[in-house]
Symmetry: C2
Subunit: 216 residues, 2 copies
DNA sequence: CTATGTGAAGGTGTTCACAGCA
DNA sequence: TGCTGTGAACACCTTCACATAG
């Protein structure tokens, strides 16, 4: 069950959330070698932060030299399980859901959308990107059949909690929710990430015309 | 310049980011009175958190009773400047940019999109929602003319830094970026919030199939 | 007697400063 | 010598526990 060495410390969420930015910076730089200073610059963080984050998982660098860009990228991909062929299901094939499928088709994110479902018979059967929209009834079956580990919820608020519960029940442990409502999760092993544009814009309004504070 | 009482403490960003969730919960509940317990439940936080957050701005509740939902909602709107008619400009009228305008037209977020610009002559002049796409050249003019305080960047990575710089130069202090790249901000009074779907999904992959960790 | 408002305690993440190693 | 790896100091945020007010 342990994924990395015995000292499998509890990794801060914030560290995990920075790793993809490091990965992107690493693949963008062609250089063989890269220092924590330069990597931090590219990713938008400090060099100490970079070193601390990476050190949670091992000693990947060479003192006095830096990191090997290609092999560090491999390490980060391994840490994030991006070498494991992670598959996601999109629930809700409305405007947002279909946009998500297309977006993921285009960007090489190392996470594949493996199914799209909707409750509306008028939508079921349509083609979205490389997929055909299936019935919401088949949610559990699809998760099992296609070995899906991630859920992306893009349904109206009313149906969202039930969708989340069903995903969790069938074993999904990572969920991305675009639903403009707080969802309840009891299982502590489930990680739910919310993306809520209205909330973001309202929070940003606070910083309009103010003269204070720092960066997120 | 001080917006709230003299003890204008430095408010944690995390507090600001929770306020919109409280506001949504408050407007959803019809009840006159609401306790911090209930409000926390609806918004997805603890009651202590709710009380602490609100207490940064004043004493809005009645001991032994709770808060008045309507007047507390007004207070939160005031704190976030949502009563100030905050206006935003969307830069980039591609798929994402146009989707953003339409989304904001529909959801009552209290932040209005007041302009959309693009660099592509083929797109300039088109109608998106209630707006006409204008030339990127007019960015500064539009920000001034329409008293815009917020920028939303939805352009390809290559042009993003220049757009950010121009927005900051003309006085915009709050920016939402959908660009899949880290952007540099030197001015400490400028707040930039990034939303990057690819990064979010890659970070989520870490939690797929793991048995640990907690909620964000 | 109830639920707020808040100092104090606790926990978590970041920055500092330098020891360690190529 | 140069840059990594890391304990220790620090800052920040959350949780606790209770005094306070209606």
């Amino acid at each position: 069950m342990e994924r990395y060495d015995i000292r499998a410390r509890r990794i801060p969420d914030s560290t995990i959330r920075r790793l993809p930015a490091y990965l992107r910076a690493l693949t963008r730089t062609g250089n063989e070698r890269i220092t924590s200073e330069r990597l931090g610059q590219l990713a938008g963080y400090t060099s100490e932060q970079v070193r601390k984050d990476l050190a949670y998982f091992g000693a990947f660098g060479t003192r006095g030299v830096g990191y090997d860009a290609a092999s560090l990228a491999d390490e980060v991909r391994r840490i994030l399980q991006l070498d494991q062929n992670v598959r996601a299901i999109v629930v809700g094939a409305g405007r947002l859901g279909t946009a998500l499928v297309r977006h993921t088709d285009e960007s090489a994110s190392d996470v594949a959308i493996a199914a799209v479902v909707d409750i509306d018979p008028a939508v079921i059967g349509r083609t979205v990107g490389h997929l055909t929209v299936e019935s919401l009834d088949r949610l559990e079956a699809l998760v099992v059949e296609r070995n899906i580990g991630m859920g992306i919820i893009a349904v109206p608020p009313a149906g969202a909690q039930s969708v989340l519960d069903r995903l969790v029940n069938v074993g999904v442990r990572a969920v991305l929710s675009f639903v403009p409502r707080s969802l309840a999760v009891t299982n502590p092993d489930v990680f739910v990430q919310h993306i809520d544009l209205t909330l973001e814009m309202q929070a940003l309004a606070y910083f309009v015309g103010s003269t204070a504070r720092t960066q997120s």
